[in-house]
């Protein structure tokens, strides 16, 4: 409901004069990521909101910037989703961590770091959650090089033939062509927003 998020915006502007906020489709965008800590502290403790339950911390890649989205609920007042967003650029993506305030953010921020590469400053133990140590890259970014599993490359053909598998001629030819042109068989990822 738009009125809910408007009341949050007004309360925050009254408490922190000069804070830059924007309403985006039922959610509140904090223009400066460093505001996040004091905003979260205010909504957790202020008697008007009492958002004591941080339900979901997730990240999203929008090609020009990365976004972290927070969904807050209030268990005391039983009120509905309050959505906060923070945007950071791709290189040097740093967002203050909410773990000191909400313990539910601990594992979720680790997951967002693992899959997107956003660094959460102030997190007690920021390391990869799902992928193993030594994995390079962050898989859910839109410019992650994901290998196409349907196309063989030259080194795949070599490995298969060394193990006694007969590779069809067309596949060998395609792999040699790829190698000659210096390209890799990758899944296409969107470089600009997809149109319907």
């Amino acid at each position: 409901m738009p009125s809910m998020i408007n009341s949050l915006k007004d309360a925050l502007e009254k408490k922190f004069p000069g804070i830059k906020l924007r309403i985006l489709r039922d959610s509140l965008l904090l223009e400066d990521p460093q505001d996040l800590t004091r905003v979260a502290q205010h909504v957790k403790e202020s008697p008007a909101f009492r958002l004591d339950y941080l339900s979901s911390v997730t990240a999203s890649d929008f090609l020009d910037y990365l976004e972290t989205i927070y969904h807050f609920y209030s268990m005391e007042k039983k009120s509905g989703p309050w959505v906060l967003r923070v945007r950071v650029p791709r290189e040097n993506a740093r967002v203050p961590s909410l773990t000191p305030l909400y313990q539910s953010a601990e594992l979720q921020e680790r997951e967002a770091y693992d899959l997107f590469g956003i660094l959460y400053e102030g997190h007690p133990d920021l390391r990869r959650l799902f992928l193993w140590e030594g994995f390079e890259g962050h898989p859910l970014l839109k410019n992650y090089e994901q290998e196409n599993a349907d196309t063989l490359e030259a080194r795949d053909v070599e490995w298969l033939e060394a193990h006694g598998v007969k590779v069809p001629e067309t596949m060998k030819k395609n792999a040699a062509e790829l190698k000659a042109s210096g390209k890799r068989a990758l899944v296409e990822k969107p470089t600009e927003p997809r149109q319907a």
Partner: protein, 380 residues
């Protein structure tokens, strides 16, 4: 210096690995435990052994194709995942669900809750050492419900049954009669189960005052579901969000007092009784009508035509393990831009260390069993 540093200086610490291959960790789950004698001083969970990157798979699949992948997250009760995902997609595209379809969805969701809680209690008792007796009694009842799932949806476990705007196939008369028989016989099974377990002295002595979760820590750590309600916090999403016609049914929300393992076991038995009540009301009031909204019925044949408007939606349901939420971002194409799963099993583990500190090594398994995690959901 903290207590841990003092103990480490004395050289009494033993690090033990509850490895990913373990019969009691409910999947491939690893815990690194620092022990002083038999008491736990630190516990760090390590996960990711079942990570299949389903969020990236979802970006390359149509919205309707993702329903088959959601089954595989919480594989013990696959239908609740379908429910949560279809609810989110319907919120994104503003699709309504006809009445009969909504009742069928509630019947399936409550049957899924019954199979989940009976398996959870059975496996908790397995971890406690009563080697298979309560588990097999629970699985005997669960088999009847799984037969109904196979007759209606086509598969016992990977049901793939819910579609946007309703369900895939209608409930026929035989299945309805089978569900009515199950609902009639279930309270008697629960009475027998309780006689076996609830006042059993060994269970009481091992489970009471073990793994206490205080209510404020539970709320702060984002814990939901029976684990939260056993600590005394009244938060059931079926009553708060009132999604999918749950406000027409009359059921209570059981609450625990102390938040120990015994409360978490007993609250699941009470929740099964409430589910039976909901099922009785739903079966009595099941109306005739469409099993899928006529506007989305053509999507069954042409999934590529489902192009929700640009935007995002966060939908959540009360899955038997907690709050299962889906966050979908749409860019107008038939494939989502971002699909994130808010998995209760992952977030309920935030408080595992706090619950296990100071307990004995044998209590770790029952505390983990009482939280009721499934690794398919934790790792996705």
């Amino acid at each position: 210096m903290t207590l841990l540093d003092e103990i480490k200086k004395d050289g009494e610490i033993l690090e033990i690995n509850f490895g990913p291959q373990h019969p009691s960790t409910h999947g491939v789950f690893r815990m690194r435990v620092l022990l002083e004698g038999e008491t736990v001083r630190e516990l760090k969970p390590v996960m990711g052994y079942l990570h299949r990157n389903q969020e990236q798979i979802a970006e390359n699949t149509t919205y309707a194709g993702i329903v088959g992948f959601t089954d595989r997250m919480d594989y013990i009760n696959a239908l609740s995942n379908n429910f949560s995902y279809c609810l989110t997609a319907e919120k994104l595209a503003s699709i309504e669900v006809p009445e009969r379809a909504a009742y069928i969805r509630i019947i399936m969701a409550e049957l899924a809750r019954l199979i989940n809680h009976s398996a959870a209690v059975g496996f908790l008792l397995n971890d406690l050492g009563s080697f298979f007796t309560p588990l097999l009694y629970a699985l005997r009842e669960r088999e009847r419900i799984l037969d109904v799932f196979e007759a209606v949806t086509g598969s016992r476990m990977m049901c793939n049954y819910f579609r946007f705007g309703g369900v895939k196939r209608d409930l026929d008369e035989d299945s309805l009669a089978a569900i009515k028989t199950i609902v009639r016989k279930f309270p008697r099974f629960l009475d027998e189960f309780e006689t076996l377990l609830t006042s059993n002295e060994i269970l009481c002595m091992r489970c009471q005052n073990v793994g206490v979760l205080p209510a404020d820590l539970a709320v702060n750590a984002g814990i939901t579901g029976p684990t939260l309600r056993a600590s005394g916090v009244n938060y059931d999403i079926r009553k708060i969000d009132r999604y999918g016609l749950y406000d027409r049914f009359d059921f209570k929300v059981p609450l625990g007092k102390k938040g120990d393992v015994y409360d978490r076991y007993y609250i699941r038995i009470l929740e099964m009784r409430e589910s039976v009540k909901i099922l009785e009301q739903a079966l009595q009031a099941l109306p005739a009508g469409d099993f899928i909204h006529p506007k989305t019925a053509p999507l069954l044949r042409n999934p590529r035509n489902f192009k929700p408007p640009v935007g995002e939606a966060y939908g959540r349901t009360e899955s038997p393990k907690g709050e299962l939420g889906f966050y979908l971002v749409s860019d107008g194409t038939p494939q989502p831009w971002r699909c994130h799963v808010r998995a209760p099993s992952l977030i309920n583990l935030s408080a595992l260390e706090a619950m296990c500190l100071g307990q004995k090594i044998a209590d770790i398994m029952i505390i983990l069993g009482s939280i009721d995690i499934v690794l398919g959901e934790t790792d996705r």
